[in-house]
Symmetry: D2
Subunit: 401 residues, 4 copies
């Protein structure tokens, strides 16, 4: 029996781990297999090819490491950099903070560009740093594409533009954990050197694969990077890629078949349709927040995120209480405010394999809880605002047209 | 790959088959077993005991027949009646119609009491028939507790009262397919002789078990009933009950384990809480329909159903088009209007393992589709009305209090 | 938690229900669906087409009825015959006995041709009866292709030959429950009028679909057959076939998807390869029995069954004790001796999705139990005999060649 | 569809990943959940308590890291040691070799004690090194309890005895990947400082959790260990243990529920019974090998492994061909010979949730393949030898006695 069983579906609206589609759950419903048989390498080969499409890269080399996003970060850093290397890193929320903490503990010399939580990366400061760095002491720029704690999406094309403007050779390392497969992401076009995500985000799988994709330049850097690494070392993967057996140690058979199914679903819907769906759901969520008279934690329209919305509550309300009651009463899982915004924001994740009516159910639940904790919301107002928009932007399910 | 894959959850709001809770899906996720081993009888024994609680009977004998509701009907009739027997049967919608058709094809002499679709059983006529039947030529009263086609719930306590008033010995046979386990149902208190349901309704399983529960009087009747039957014969079950092996032929192992899990969930939530939840969701749905300015097919408050609502659309709209678009655009499955009300009503099933936010998502979807087919609904209005009610009737999830 | 958990796999060697392959378990691992959406009819259509291939018929009409084999029997009989009709039926074991019991209870005039248990149908008597029946009072010949209780396979081609010889118009009704999809079966070539099987046998699904396939002549007969039937009536199916919605009442969504997967597996292996595999496993089992110095219940080679072997134990041993200990000690499920052969035989089912090493594990287990109950078997002898044969008849897994 | 589908069960006899019991597969068959809800910490708490029982420790602190055995190694080393630290490590096969490779790449000063492959750790040399190390320059002893490549089990009690004899304070680090939960393992009694295993071994789960258990002394060492680590850092876990939320980053929800089920099964069978079962199956395998006239790669009885047997083939046979044919013909997955013994041995894993008849099926398969590749084996001989032993050592399934 589950702990704390509640009737009906759990409404999972944290920004990860996200809902797993039934066909993916089915694909993973299996016994273990010998990963040295002909079957697993044959499967792996298709995955390595197809996962690149999600990153929009043809030149990158993907590594599907049995780890989480935190491990994927570590793999990105340790394979490309050496202790003491100067890196520029943007601090705009809890996840960029944690990455920076990791960068420091891995002994890099981290030059932090901090923004107020709710703002995006300050690219002006980046520009000035690059301008000043004629000696190219900056070895890498580290940026979280979508800061899950505040619902802020950074402009990666602009980062690339600035790097190019100053002809700066720094590696461009991107955490795409809550963006890749959901937001517009173009590894090759934006000349990203390492991009990474986790299986439990837009790919809609359980936690357990950190996918790191390296550009040829990043691969080259890995040959001389002196950071100590073994488990996360790309070299071991490359050795087994060459052997055609692909795995330096035991992968999760279940996640491989799950990833196959997840990719098949993304391709069946069409990656562009998937991104458009996230855009529609993100917009609908923001319209609801506006209708409730609440503020989006994201301070400017240019940074709004289509995968997560952090909602600021009035000072007299504890946002954690909203999250608690949502779960207790309506089997609705919302994201807590983290660190600096703990108690001040709650988060609605609208990432992954979701559709309109799931979101509208969530929004209705949020309204009832808001009222319940004493916020004078007009019940139905947010749903109405979202519906007006959605009804004018009819989704097309490709297979049902 | 599924046929016609769509992103996100399917919103299943037909009045059956209904959503299967994850713990039940898990319980059924298994290989076959020898049903003659000690394990299956041991399991079956617990099921036969516990399923009686759903019928609220201690004196009844349940039969879990590998069939559908239609088969359960046939089992109820053929085990208790003989060809030519006069039975009184109420015709109030498609499912009572189909049962009557079956009764006629099984060669009973059916005395049909017809009501307009949307009305409940006409119990006044029943009373007059019973009054007139001093010779007790009427052998059985057949009634559908909840007519799924029109969302009409009949008053079974009243039927019993009338039978008692005239001290009429007719058997009292009840189709509880869309009521048992969801609506207030009291087999013993109402002195019902045969009650039946199907696994794919309130028990939230796949189709495949027709559960028929017989009173001692019905069991007695089965000894002399002359209707031809083999597969549906209770006698074969009773023989194997006595042997302690329980099954005259192969049951579905998966459904047995699924039923075990389904009963555990119902008991964990508490049967009274389950019924209260259906009542809350039914009321919320009707308030939404009212807010939309549409009519409930059910003509009087006394008959409204807490498991399904049939919504009447204006004459210029084809309700089938609503059902079609709901599925195509929003992955929302609604019930079609059937037979006399085809094209005129669509149905929202709110039966089984559902919670508030699932229903509100459905209602939002219905609003968008209504607008889309040209009905001048105010978007958000129905959801708002439902939310106001629901927010004042906070659900308590027992395990999370 | 399961009842009576034991470590490792259950070794399921009863002649049904049989092992479900993992891909089929996966396919059924799903929520319910609206069976009136476009998806379910589209799926059903492919099933009705493909299931005919298992029967080797192009002219037959299949009905996938939510029932067991017992229900499929009833459907076959009641749709084609009228009460009082004379039918010739062969009694050779428990399942033919049960079918005859049903035939009698359905009020047919059953002319039973009995053989000793362990022998096949006595076709000489059939011939003499047909010869004598110049008035064509015999309306149907009912035969169990493979008698599961004794491991006897009847010769259907010979039955057809005799019918043709006497130009007798009797319907030819065949129980193919433990043969279709596993043994050579040719509905069209042998001019069978109704053939039937159950989902839990060679199709390797859970119990729950009785598949009945009717020839044009049988369909024609169903128009005038007077047996009372509703649930099992083909007419209702045909009506919905014409409408393109296929289902007169709610099917099991899970079994439909499961059947799709099961058929895909059969076709991927190749139906001829499947039959050859059964032949190989049947032969290996019989060689083991011989090596143990035990008798096959089947009295002549011409009747041996490739789906089940009934092994006769010496008089001083109770075969039920073998079955009990196999389950208690080795998690091995064998078939009990039934009725006349209770205590005298145990049965090894080698039907369905099985391979060589599964069978050899079973045979080793049987040896240890035989020794354990006091039979002086030489341990390893049966496995050795089976291995010698199998090693000379190397299986080819089509996908791995 | 799977790649390379074959009929029947896959016979999985590699020494990992191993068979997952059905109840564990079921437990993992679920959607994602918010790991910050009250449910996941409540579940995690029970796991952390219960997993200690498998290690036989009450004083240890377990860490369930989302990684593989390789990651668990890295966590054990980097949390307790500093770069340059001298460690003594035993090289006796491929997995100890890989661990040593990791130790060197992590910049430890590795003092390798090498044995011939097929022999156990040379504890005499250990004794002499410890005797000489009066300055206590040796900071840790690293040993693989069960070398999976050669089927060698080292004597940990003896290692502890030697350490105690010389009152040497070196940390005692043990890879229990193919032993913990299957072989006799006593963390507290043997005063082991770090013991580790992977979920895909005796716990019978998918790959994905590396479980590392640290003694109080190891925890103390972690406070000053200077190896760079972030993802594998125990400190982050300890912080969240104190907070009661347990997870520094996202765990796999599915594996947590799976681990709960796996532990429940181990406790239901009884850990001592589980170990006895492995002993019985190991012995049976070795008897079969002997009967075939082949050599066990393990050179002395004192080292034989009850979880894996490496079988040496004659020089004229390529052991890889045996593995290939086993998979192609019989759906049997055996372990390849690795590195120094590639082509010379094949391996039979008898680890995890297995029973007698599964093993006997495997042994029969191996015999047929041996014959097939030209080795003059007497078919049935190995199975016979195993059966004689097993039949005299009847397994008792606790729930079925």
């Amino acid at each position: 029996m589950d702990h704390f069983y509640g009737p009906g579906r759990n409404h999972l609206f944290v920004p990860g781990p996200v809902n797993i589609p039934e066909p993916v759950i089915r694909a993973m419903n299996r016994n273990n297999e010998d990963y040295r048989s002909p079957a697993v390498p044959a499967l792996t080969k298709t995955l390595l090819e197809d996962v690149k499409k999600i990153f929009k890269t043809t030149t990158g080399t993907p590594f599907m490491i049995p780890t989480t996003g935190t491990g994927a970060w570590e793999s990105a850093l340790t394979n490309t950099l050496s202790p003491g290397d100067r890196i520029v890193s943007f601090l705009i929320g809890q996840f960029s903070l944690l990455w920076i903490d990791q960068q420091q503990r891995l002994n890099f010399n981290v030059d932090v560009i901090e923004s107020e939580w709710g703002q995006g990366a300050n690219l002006d400061i980046l520009a000035s740093k690059l301008a000043a760095d004629t000696a190219h002491t900056i070895k890498a720029i580290c940026i979280v594409h979508n800061e899950t704690a505040t619902g802020v999406t950074n402009n990666l094309a602009e980062v690339r533009k600035i790097l190019d403007e100053y002809r700066h050779p720094a590696l461009f390392l991107v955490d795409g954990v809550s963006s890749i497969g959901a937001l517009d992401f173009r590894m090759d076009e934006w000349d990203i050197d390492v991009a990474l995500t986790g299986s439990q985000k837009a790919l809609s799988l359980p936690t357990g694969i950190g996918i790191v994709c390296a550009s040829p330049k990043a691969l080259e850097a890995s040959k001389t990077a002196k950071s100590v690494r073994v488990f996360f070392d790309w070299k071991d993967y490359l050795k087994f890629y060459n052997l055609g057996t692909f795995w330096p140690y035991t992968p999760s058979i279940q996640l491989l078949y799950g990833l196959r199914a997840a990719l098949d679903l993304l391709f069946e819907e069409g990656l562009d349709n998937v991104i458009a769906r996230h855009s529609r759901l993100g917009k609908a969520t923001r319209l609801a927040v506006e209708a409730w008279g609440l503020k989006n934690c994201t301070q400017k329209e240019e940074w709004v995120s289509d995968t997560v919305t952090a909602v600021v509550v009035p000072p007299y309300i504890d946002s954690s209480e909203i999250v608690r009651r949502a779960w207790k009463r309506y089997n609705l899982s919302l994201g807590l405010g983290l660190n600096k915004v703990a108690g001040k924001v709650f988060r609605i994740g609208h990432l992954g394999n979701l559709n309109e009516l799931q979101l509208l159910g969530c929004l209705a639940g949020v309204e009832m809880i808001l009222k319940d904790v004493g916020y004078p919301v007009k019940l139905g107002s947010g749903v109405a605002a979202a519906c007006v928009y959605l009804q004018n932007n009819i989704p097309l399910i490709p297979s049902r047209i």
